[in-house]
């Protein structure tokens, strides 16, 4: 990477039709690109596979949150009802898994939801207040009637001229260099 590249975010091009951007995405995927993205005004079914995206890692944090919540709920009810201030309620044991189950269950749900909610923030790298793409003059159009592919400079395959030509060979129009 040369010094000029460090100030460049990537190159972008636009497409006017869904099949065009779809097949272009497949070619970028097959060329082995890792740091790139497709921007569309609406979800395109099958785009995940066309881009070669893996499954979201968020469910792992959901599971982690759920397990943590379950253990927290057990410890919470055991500590309060059976250890810190042992109390007989309705002739039930100080602690069993049955009577405090609503508490344990709710803790499981709560922390699983936290895992999901904050997990997507982490994996989406949010909050993020600005992005170099926002400076593109035609960027607003990808929420209307155009589709955009962006090849990012941090990808090891990135080389300004070659990437430009690559986008051109895919049929991309209005190829633009995005500066950081």
């Amino acid at each position: 990477m040369n010094e000029r590249n460090e100030r460049i975010h990537g190159v972008a091009c636009i497409f006017r039709k869904v099949p065009d951007v779809f097949h272009a995405a497949e070619k970028v995927r097959d060329a082995g690109w890792k740091n790139w993205d497709v921007h569309t005004p609406f979800p395109i079914h099958g785009m995940d596979q066309a881009m070669g995206l893996p499954r979201s890692p968020v469910p792992r944090l959901t599971l982690l949150g759920g397990v943590t919540g379950f253990i927290t709920g057990c410890l919470l009810t055991w500590y309060m009802n059976s250890y810190d201030y042992p109390l007989i309620v309705g002739g039930k044991p100080y602690w069993s898994v049955i009577f405090p189950f609503p508490v344990i269950y709710e803790c499981t749900i709560l922390l699983a939801a936290f895992g999901t909610f904050f997990g997507q923030f982490i994996f989406n790298r949010l909050p993020r207040h600005n992005h170099p793409l926002f400076d593109l003059p035609n960027f607003a159009r990808i929420s209307d009637d155009t589709f955009m592919i962006v090849l990012e400079a941090r990808d090891p395959q990135f080389h300004l001229d070659e990437s430009r030509n690559f986008l051109q060979s895919l049929g991309g129009q209005e190829i633009t260099v995005i500066r950081d």
Partner: protein
């Protein structure tokens, strides 16, 4: 896909019929001899066997109507198999539950409350039971028989309507049938909900008529959908390996069925636990005895074999399928989903056993005045024979229907969406 050449599989319907008739003949003979010797366990096999399939088929009936009401895009491909199967629902009721209810010897043997001379735990008879007298506005024989007749009628009519217009669409290509089925389903869902709740009350809950649970109908619903989905997964697996779904059933269909299996596994656990939890918390003897006889050996005070059955339900019928289905790959890899479906199917049989078999039998030699029906007896084999017997009839009807009708709803407005369904 053409109607002129039915699939080779359908030729096997006679084998299923022969298997079904043979197994049911054996089970009914055992039940008849048992009842003659004042034994009801063999008659209970007929009830468990028929209720297993009633539950599967009610689940499929509901799934048919629910996917109609919501216009589910993935459903038509799978739904046609439900439509072919549910023809058997009134038949299973007519050769299982109906004779048990309408033949007095079987009725008296199975449902204690219908026999005034029956001696209850504690030594008094049903005829002198104040609890039954208070419940007699509902638990009286004429009304009971009318209700059993109504279940056959209600489910029979719904099954007929749902099938008729769906098959009519195959030949006359009219989209209006879809709207008509939409309306039938919207009306049919609440009617089925009431009917299946009452059916669960009459056939299962009334086996221990002192006991009551308002969640019982919902439990039966959850079990029905779980069993229906398990049978659907097993059947569609078979049909996509050399049947009419070959090359049509894809990963996304399995994912949907897997997600539904996960959802209803959780729902079943929620309902079953809530029922237990409320009774445990309230601690009222007329409710707790139902769980006590399923946990504790009254004579010794130790855990009985029914306790092991309860534990199997918690770990084998909830945690095992639940934790497996949490993983995306379990839901899309055909062999893994098939394994989970079998686990659910086996768990469903154990759950029916848990609900149907244990009851207090009068025995004055014990200090408590009763013994609990044991779990591990040779009659479990008779239960399995009954399940196989009714299953033979169900699949004979299914395959004969598949030979007569399209096995793919070729003119369903959403059939292309269903075939091309993706995640």
């Amino acid at each position: 896909m053409s109607s002129s050449s039915p699939h080779a599989l359908t030729a096997h319907w006679k084998k299923f019929l022969a298997l079904g008739v043979a197994a049911l003949a054996v089970v009914w003979v055992f039940a008849y001899i048992g009842v003659g010797h004042h034994e009801n366990r063999q008659a209970l096999s007929v009830l468990v066997g028929s209720l297993f399939w009633v539950s599967v088929l009610i689940g499929m009936l509901l799934l048919t109507m629910i996917t109609r009401v919501f216009d589910a895009g993935w459903a038509p491909l799978v739904r046609r198999n439900w439509e072919l199967l549910i023809e058997a629902l009134p038949v299973v009721l007519l050769i299982g539950v109906v004779p048990l209810a309408f033949l007095p010897e079987f009725r008296h043997a199975l449902w204690d409350w219908t026999d005034p001379a029956h001696v209850l735990a504690g030594g008094h008879t049903v005829g002198h039971d104040p609890i039954l007298q208070a419940k007699s506005w509902f638990l009286n024989e004429p009304f009971f028989l009318v209700r059993i007749g109504l279940y056959v009628l209600v489910f029979g009519v719904l099954v007929t309507l749902l099938r008729r217009w769906s098959f009519a669409q195959d030949t006359d290509r009219t989209a209006g049938h879809t709207h008509r089925l939409h309306a039938v389903s919207a009306v049919g869902i609440p009617i089925s909900a009431v009917a299946l709740t009452m059916l669960a009350f009459d056939c299962l809950m009334a086996l221990s008529y002192h006991w009551f649970s308002t969640m019982y109908g919902v439990w039966f619903f959850a079990l029905s959908i779980r069993l229906a989905l398990a049978v659907t997964v097993i059947l569609t697996y078979k049909l996509s390996n050399g049947g009419w779904l070959d090359g049509l059933l894809n990963q996304a269909h399995r994912h949907v069925l897997g997600c539904l299996m996960l959802a209803f596994t959780v729902f079943w656990a929620y309902i079953s636990f809530s029922q237990y939890f409320l009774i445990y918390t309230a601690n009222i003897p007329e409710e707790t005895f139902w769980y006590n006889i399923r946990e504790i050996d009254a004579a010794t005070g130790l855990k009985s074999e029914w306790w092991s059955v309860s534990m199997y339900l918690i770990f084998g019928f909830f945690f095992l399928p639940f934790l497996s289905l949490l993983f995306y790959r379990t839901k899309i890899i055909a062999d893994r989903l098939l394994t989970v479906a079998w686990i659910i199917l086996i768990g469903g049989i154990v759950d029916l056993w848990f609900n149907a078999i244990p009851r207090q039998v009068y025995d004055k030699s014990t200090p408590e005045g009763f013994v609990v029906t044991p779990f591990l007896t040779s009659s479990l084999l008779l239960d399995l024979a009954a399940i196989i017997g009714f299953g033979g009839i169900v699949f004979a009807i299914f395959l004969r229907g598949a030979a007569k009708h399209e096995t793919i709803p070729v003119h369903d407005p959403r059939i292309l969406e269903s075939i091309n369904y993706h995640e």
